[in-house]
């Protein structure tokens, strides 16, 4: 059990608490009183100078809050008390040596303190701000009663070192204690690393799964001509993005993707959605010569991704919260992934008229055979999942419309 006050279920409640304790903020940021704390806060202002790649921070904090509460209560409590001592030490050091190396400054958000870890280069640039915040935070740490969560500020630099360490050890073998050693940063606790590692791993799985899906879709479309049985076994995208994270809120595992990937706003997610679904735009064929040579690479790639996709999917626990519109968060990073570069390279051949690729053709019509196969499949196997999963229209509406157009009955036999 945590000594700190238990995590409230609702965000609003948290925010209310925050607002009481947020001694620096209340006067300066009147919008807090409305209760839309997280919406109103301008994180850039808060973190100016602390980290230039600011996107990583802000959302991470929420996730880390939830993470630390739910994952290991006691451990985090212990770590917190240890870390708080460090924090106070650091704060004091901070105020003494403004330009010293690793500086920690704390801000509170939520029910706990937030600790920002800053690398030397950044510290030199923004030492004053850090000092300010440190002073504020030490004031706050006195105000707070019992809330001693150490919040790690995963700056891009810090994250980069983390990734380096992990890769050195090997992702699967990477153990938090070793990572900690490799990173050699004092202010990180094993627990910080552990939770960060967990997120990193899930993020990787996610990326791979999505890329697998994207390539497997496009490849499967192509495969309809070849009519392999295996290509029909893909799962509807609705199911794919489920994550096997134990008690996480949807908000939680929506955000890590936001944080870890591109710092784009929600709108861009929507914009990238079609790119993911639709035949990939990146290597457009200059002139696609139909069928006779489906690139030989396609078969092995397809099976690779297929099996990879399957195994990734199986490892995810179904039933956990999905992304809110299920497809909107599927992202297709521009320098795609392992499956894509080979195709991209394939494209860069000199000469005109070289077929570039295994992608479903989009600047000309798909072959009749592939359409026929696709259509035939749908007709004969009605229970197959929909490839896109659009919201279906209301049957009544359709029928009414059809009647207005002179079609009284459906299905109608063709003349």
């Amino acid at each position: 059990m945590l000594a700190v006050s238990p995590l409230r279920n609702t965000k609003d409640h948290e925010r209310e608490e925050e607002m009481e304790r947020f001694s620096i903020g209340c006067d300066d940021f009147p919008e807090f009183s409305t209760g839309n704390f997280l919406d109103c806060i301008d994180f850039d202002d808060l973190f100016v100078g602390i980290n230039d790649g600011g996107e990583l921070l802000d959302l991470e904090m929420d996730t880390q809050i939830l993470d630390e509460f739910s994952v290991s209560g006691e451990e985090s409590e212990m770590n917190s008390s240890v870390s708080v001592e460090k924090l106070e030490d650091n704060s004091r050091k901070e105020e003494d040596n403004k330009t010293s190396g690793l500086a920690s400054s704390s801000l509170t958000q939520g029910d706990q303190e937030i600790v920002s870890k800053i690398d030397e280069s950044v510290a030199v640039n923004s030492s004053r701000k850090e000092a300010d915040k440190c002073r504020k935070s030490s004031a706050q740490s006195k105000n707070l009663q019992g809330k001693r969560k150490m919040k790690v500020d995963w700056t891009p630099e810090l994250h980069r070192r983390f990734v380096q360490a992990v890769e050195q050890l090997g992702v699967d073998k990477a153990v938090p204690s070793r990572i900690l050693e490799l990173m050699g940063i004092d202010c990180l606790t094993r627990h910080n690393i552990a939770s960060h590692l967990q997120k990193y791993r899930s993020h990787r799985k996610h990326l791979l799964a999505r890329e697998a899906e994207a390539t497997s879709w496009s490849q499967r479309r192509q495969m309809y001509g070849g009519a392999t049985g295996g290509s029909k076994r893909y799962v509807s995208p609705r199911l794919a993005p489920t994550m096997g994270f134990p008690p996480m809120t949807p908000l939680h595992h929506f955000r890590p993707l936001h944080v870890w990937g591109h710092p784009s706003a929600d709108q861009s997610l929507m914009h990238t959605w079609p790119k993911n679904l639709f035949p990939l735009a990146s290597p457009p064929p200059p002139a696609w010569t139909p069928a006779p040579h489906p690139p030989p690479r396609q078969a092995p790639d397809h099976s690779f991704w297929h099996s990879h996709y399957q195994s990734v999917h199986n490892s995810l626990a179904p039933g956990t919260p999905c992304f809110p519109p299920p497809l909107a968060t599927m992202r297709f990073p521009p320098p795609a992934g392992p499956g894509i570069p080979p195709h991209a390279m394939y494209k860069v051949e000199p000469g005109i008229g070289v077929p570039s690729g295994p992608y479903p053709p989009f600047d000309f019509h798909p072959s009749k055979e592939s359409i026929d196969a696709a259509i035939g499949d749908v007709i004969t196997k009605p229970c197959l999942p929909f490839p896109i999963g659009l919201k279906p229209p209301s049957v009544d509406t359709v029928l009414v419309e059809l009647q207005q157009q002179g079609i009284p009955k459906v299905p109608s036999t063709r003349a």
């Binding site: 879709w217 479309r221 929507m270 914009h271 959605w273 079609p274 790119k275 679904l277 639709f278 035949p279 735009a281 457009p284 200059p286 005109i352 479903p360 053709p361 989009f362 600047d363 019509h365 798909p366 009749k368 592939s370 359409i371 026929d372 696709a374 259509i375 035939g376 749908v378 007709i379 009605p382 197959l384 929909f386 490839p387 896109i388 999963g389 659009l390 919201k391 279906p392 229209p393 209301s394 049957v395 509406t397 359709v398 029928l399 419309e401 059809l402 157009q405 002179g406 079609i407 009955k409 459906v410 299905p411 109608s412 063709r414």
Partner: protein, 97 residues
């Protein structure tokens, strides 16, 4: 009689087929033609279901439309570039003579 359920399942099938066409990046007209030819579905039915889908999934279809337009313009640009390259290479060889 299973009229309502058969209508529903028919419409569901048409919906499914339309989604397949979208995966192939087809336009509504292309889809109507394809379903007509390959599945004997009256184009009016296809277009009605398509329109209804569009209403229910506005954002998707807007994005789809944009994506298709982008690809079309990309294609056009590419073709122009290719033509230019061809032209310039022809001129070069002419000059060489």
């Amino acid at each position: 009689m299973g009229d309502s359920s058969s209508s529903a399942s028919y419409i569901r099938m048409v919906h499914h087929l339309i989604e397949e066409c979208i995966v192939f990046n087809m336009s509504k007209e292309e889809c109507m033609e394809a379903l007509d030819k390959h599945a004997n579905i009256i184009p009016v039915i296809t277009s009605t279901v398509w329109k209804e889908l569009e209403k229910e999934n506005k954002e998707f279809f807007e994005a789809y439309k944009k994506s298709r337009e982008e690809k079309a313009s990309e294609k056009e640009t590419r073709q122009r570039i290719q033509e230019m390259l061809l032209d310039s290479s022809r001129k070069d060889t002419n000059n060489d003579d």
